[in-house]
């Protein structure tokens, strides 16, 4: 039975009219390294975030709440004084509350133009690297279900904005001490600050954001403010890949920091 992944022999670079070269690529550099590293990095995050999302524990250590569990939308959430407890889902939700909110950042990153490149290359080998023949017999790209749903990226961008706003609120709450007194700062506050800057930079550097801000215009000269904003987003957008990775790592580190505090493995060093 055809699985669609058999090496093809009569089409593509081995087609009858092409130069007769048997190997799938003549590249002499380590072309496999980038997709392997990408796949490894993404896989590590998937394993870590799946464990943390389903664990439903150790996600709050006053005054810090893990970004994986914020906002906390079910009744089974740990009470967080002044924190993002909004029991929209009531008591019937018995699973981890992280699952209710992670769908939005997950969808945002899954449909992101950079991550698409990363996982198409890293996981699906379509293509594994430039000028390296892919192993699939057929290719329809993003023309059909389910990949045509990638066109929903801008809706996940809209959803990512309030999520980033709530994480900003959490960062403000991190300027309290463990007794909820304001005007304090610890190492965790710094971790949260770095994380929220990277989250915002990644969110605003999004290609859909660039389009919505000004890219869809035909006459920039008639919209000087949007043109300036488009230029600003464009500069961020040039670093979209870097921001995608750094914000992915920072959000995992922020969560891990809260886990260490909540599980008692580490005490938050206080600056003042």
């Amino acid at each position: 039975m055809a699985t669609g992944t058999e090496p093809h022999t009569d089409t593509g670079v081995r087609g009858a009219t092409r130069a007769a070269i048997a190997t799938r690529t003549l590249r002499t550099d380590r072309w496999w390294l980038a997709p392997a590293a990408t796949a490894g990095g993404l896989l590590a995050f998937i394993v870590y975030s799946t464990w943390r999302a389903f664990s439903n524990s150790d996600y709050y250590a006053a005054p810090y709440v893990s970004p994986f569990y914020s906002p906390c939308l079910a009744e089974n959430c740990v009470p967080m004084k002044g924190g993002p407890n909004w029991e929209i889902f009531g008591s019937w939700w018995g699973l981890s509350p992280a699952l209710l909110i992670l769908i939005f950042p997950l969808g945002f990153r899954l449909t992101c133009y950079y991550y698409r490149k990363a996982y198409y290359r890293g996981f699906w080998a379509s293509p594994p690297a430039c000028a390296v023949a892919e192993p699939h017999a057929k290719y329809t790209g993003e023309t059909r279900f389910p990949l045509i749903l990638q066109n929903m990226h801008r809706y996940f961008f809209y959803a990512a904005l309030p999520v980033a706003g709530i994480l900003t609120y959490d960062t403000v709450l991190a300027f309290r001490d463990e007794n909820y007194a304001w005007g304090h700062m610890g190492l965790g506050t710094l971790v949260f600050l770095v994380n929220i800057v990277l989250i915002w930079a990644y969110t605003l550097s999004c290609h859909s954001c660039r389009h919505i801000i000004g890219g869809r215009l035909r006459h920039f000269s008639k919209h000087p403010v949007r043109y300036r904003l488009w230029g600003f987003v464009g500069k961020l957008n040039e670093r979209h890949m870097l921001l995608a990775w750094t914000s992915l790592i920072s959000v995992a580190l922020a969560d891990f920091y809260v886990y260490l505090l909540a599980s008692g493995a580490f005490a938050d060093p206080r600056f003042f």
Partner: protein, 259 residues
């Protein structure tokens, strides 16, 4: 000036078959791969077929694959290679081979003809076109294209799937659609031509999975993916997949050309 002997493997043959042939050839300081191919022609393989013209990276004729990577032979310095390594030169592997390093790139000209050209604005005579620089900056980046077709060659949509050549225009010509759709004076919409919709429905924009190989190989450094293909995908979403944009255009009834 120093010289050394380099080892070359050059693909020789035609559609009936061919193979990589080994050569040892003299290299001088400052030379590029095309110089070496010319020396091979002059000294060892007088019938070696190669297409070239300007030797300055501006005509786009000498496209080939060097050590498996699509590049212009005239812009690939020999100094980037280790002197001990064997340098492999083959024709572009996405197109039918004619002979040796020459391929039949007529696919690209067929695709070029499928893109409707600029539609002049009604009531504005030639010579009276006025545009502000910030309105044409985006399109002008795409005009740097020298049509070397390296992006078309490396794009896996057609490189690895001959059957997609009918449906997919390739990055170079999707960039042309983007260029025209961003053009401040193009009156395609008034003439009933929706470039955003046709990009998806007729030129195969949906086949592009934005893996950026076109951008990686462009000798002109055009940001094909970030500045042309993704913006064009977003414009197609405006037209086909975003009910809010559709609703907004119905309520406000804003003339698209003025925005």
């Amino acid at each position: 000036m120093s010289t050394y002997d380099a080892r070359f493997r050059v693909w020789r043959g035609d559609q009936d078959g061919g193979d990589l042939e080994d050569f040892t050839v003299e290299v001088h300081d400052g030379e590029v791969v095309l110089d070496i191919i010319h020396r091979l022609q002059a000294t060892q393989a007088g019938d070696l077929a190669v297409r070239w013209n300007c030797k300055a990276g501006k005509c786009g004729s000498c496209s080939a694959e060097i050590n498996g990577r699509p590049r212009l032979m005239c812009m690939t310095r020999m100094s980037v290679f280790d002197r001990a390594e064997t340098i492999t030169v083959t024709p572009l592997r996405a197109f039918p081979v004619v002979r040796d390093l020459v391929t039949d790139v007529s696919f690209n000209y067929a695709k070029a003809r499928e893109v409707p050209s600029f539609v002049p604005p009604p009531g504005v005579a030639a010579g009276e076109y006025r545009m502000q620089q910030i309105d044409v900056d985006r399109s002008q980046e795409f005009r740097k294209c020298i049509e070397c077709f390296l992006c078309q060659d490396t794009c896996h949509v057609v490189r690895d799937h001959e059957e997609n050549k009918t449906a997919f225009a390739g990055p170079r010509f999707l960039m042309r659609v983007a260029e025209l759709d961003m053009h401040p004076l193009d009156a395609a919409a008034e003439s009933g031509l929706d470039r955003r919709r046709t990009a998806q429905e007729e030129h195969g924009l949906g086949y592009c999975n934005i893996t950026k190989c076109c951008t990686e190989v462009c000798p002109e450094g055009i940001h094909i993916t970030d500045n042309a293909l993704i913006p064009l995908k977003e414009r197609a979403v405006d037209r086909k997949y975003d009910p809010l944009v559709w609703l907004g255009s119905r309520i406000r009834r804003r003339d698209e050309r003025t925005t």
